[in-house]
């Protein structure tokens, strides 16, 4: 799942793909690089300048329409917490709604169900959209996140969302400190054991940066290490800024696990 930020202020690319043409051009690059899914967002996840409904729609709807037209088979996800946005982008051709703020808009699930779209269920510890976590305490973060994600997924099914369209995401950094995010990565297997496909959104996040003491521009290796561990433990979808590197890591981990064969295996066999 490749990240496409149609924002002027997101924490990694700082507006690099802000604008319809730039964003659609970026999607073409990401597809060429091997992305199976693109995740288009119009609001910076962290705290920042307010983005109202009309502005969010104006940023992402033209991108979704253009991407749908140009890449009919591409899975298009939209990162939004607003049910109104979900409704419009699903009409414009989006396949999945990435509800990164964990049901903050109570009407969102019904909209997703109505369109037969997929849904990413997330965990934020009850934070309001774009709020920063402050001294967050979990008696057992892995169990609490697992239980909450299971509840959210089952609630989505009960609301009519297609069961085969639901994935769960522990949502690193959101409502969590660095140790919480490391623990959730370490125990990816607990999330996998729920039976729901697990999405890991770890790319260049602060838990990587704090662990290594590095800025966003230098967090690729840390992200890939976390990606490899989570993939080994059964994570299925990886949200990333770095498609080529992530695909290579996943291909290698899959081969080590025995899930796929090497592309070539002629060494010592000639």
């Amino acid at each position: 799942m490749a990240i496409v930020n149609v924002t002027p202020d997101s924490f990694v690319d700082h507006g690099l793909t802000f604008g319809t043409d730039l964003a659609v051009g970026r999607i073409a690059e990401l597809v060429d690089a091997g992305a199976d899914i693109v995740d288009i967002g119009g609001v910076k996840a962290g705290a920042g300048a307010e983005v109202d409904l009309e502005t969010e729609l104006g940023r992402i709807v033209p991108v979704v329409e253009a991407a749908r037209e140009r890449f009919p088979d591409l899975v298009i996800s939209v990162d939004t917490w607003r049910s109104e946005v979900a409704d419009v982008v699903c009409r414009a051709g989006a396949d999945v709604v990435n509800d990164a703020w964990a049901g903050a808009d109570l009407g969102l699930t019904a909209v997703v169900a109505e369109h037969g779209a997929g849904l990413v269920c997330t965990h934020t510890g009850g934070l309001l959209p774009r709020a920063l976590p402050h001294r967050v305490w979990y008696d057992d973060v892995v169990t609490e996140v697992r239980d909450e994600l299971q509840r959210a997924a089952e609630a989505a099914v009960a609301a009519g969302v297609r069961r085969d369209g639901i994935v769960i995401d522990p949502t690193h950094d959101f409502g969590k400190n660095t140790r919480h995010s490391l623990l959730l990565t370490r125990r990816t297997d607990v999330l996998v054991a729920t039976g729901w496909p697990v999405l890991m959104a770890m790319s260049r996040k602060d838990f990587v940066g704090e662990t290594l003491g590095l800025p966003t521009s230098e967090r690729l290796e840390g992200t890939l290490a976390a990606t490899a561990i989570a993939a080994w433990l059964g994570g299925r979808i990886f949200r990333t800024h770095d498609v080529v590197a992530t695909r290579r890591v996943l291909q290698m981990v899959s081969a080590i696990r025995g899930d796929i064969a090497p592309l070539v295996a002629r060494r010592a066999l000639a």
């Binding site: 307010e50 001294r135 967050v136 973060v141 660095t178 140790r179 704090e210």
Partner: protein
């Protein structure tokens, strides 16, 4: 403000309620927390040097459930490995932070814990020093303007001045009804401080830290009575 005659108040230590004070929790890298950690240690040391018989840790936390067990600090909820809790009981983390500071500075005498839910009777018992764990306003750098910049500044400046001057009445007044949006957690703690000190004269007042390096206003200082 009256004086509760049963109380024998030796000192008050003011320290932040940030978990960043704990090196094992905040990480090994040296950096900005060093200054506030040093200030907190200084405040605790000055409070202990007043010669108390016991320390009362005050924090804005849920009441501790002690069940007769030995209360200990426990920061597993922030992601640290679980400590050995045989025969002991974990304190709410804010009180645990005070307990950790006392351990860190070598206090092995009597200690008790009070919260905003405690009563005046909980404050009584021997010559006592109070360790007040709490912070001023909160506003992170990435957060947009919310119109409460002035309220935060007025509140924090007033608290700093009150601690620096040993001004119980001013601290009490500031803590009585703060603007909710400034998100300060210390007012209930400072109300308890004011209740304990009452109208006793503060003979020495020091403020050694007053800054918000991460968006939360930290204060460190002490009063001797």
């Amino acid at each position: 403000m009256s004086v509760t005659p049963e109380l024998d108040v030796a000192a008050v230590g003011f320290v932040p309620s940030t978990p960043l004070l704990i090196p094992d929790l905040a990480g090994a890298a040296p950096g900005e927390p060093d200054e506030v950690r040093a200030a907190a240690r200084q405040a605790v040391d000055a409070m202990l040097a007043s010669g108390p018989d016991r320390i009362v840790v005050m924090a804005a936390s849920p009441p501790p459930t002690l069940n007769g067990a030995v209360p200990v600090w426990d920061f597993t909820g922030f992601g640290l490995p679980a400590p050995e809790l045989l025969g002991s009981w974990p304190l709410p983390w804010q009180l645990g932070l005070g307990a950790w500071l006392l351990d860190d500075r070598g206090w092995d005498g009597r200690r008790d814990y009070v919260t905003a839910f405690s009563t005046a009777a909980d404050l009584v018992g021997g010559r006592t020093a109070y360790l007040a764990v709490g912070d001023g306003s909160v506003h992170f750098a990435d957060e947009p303007s919310d119109g409460f910049e002035g309220a935060r500044e007025t509140f924090d400046r007033g608290v700093a001045a009150a601690i620096a001057a040993g001004d119980v009445a001013s601290l009490s007044a500031l803590a009585r009804d703060p603007v909710e949006e400034i998100r300060a957690d210390a007012p209930p703690v400072w109300r308890q401080v004011a209740a304990a000190v009452g109208s006793r004269p503060v003979t020495t007042a020091r403020l050694v830290y007053d800054a918000a390096p991460y968006g939360v206003r930290y204060f460190a200082g002490w009063w001797l009575l």
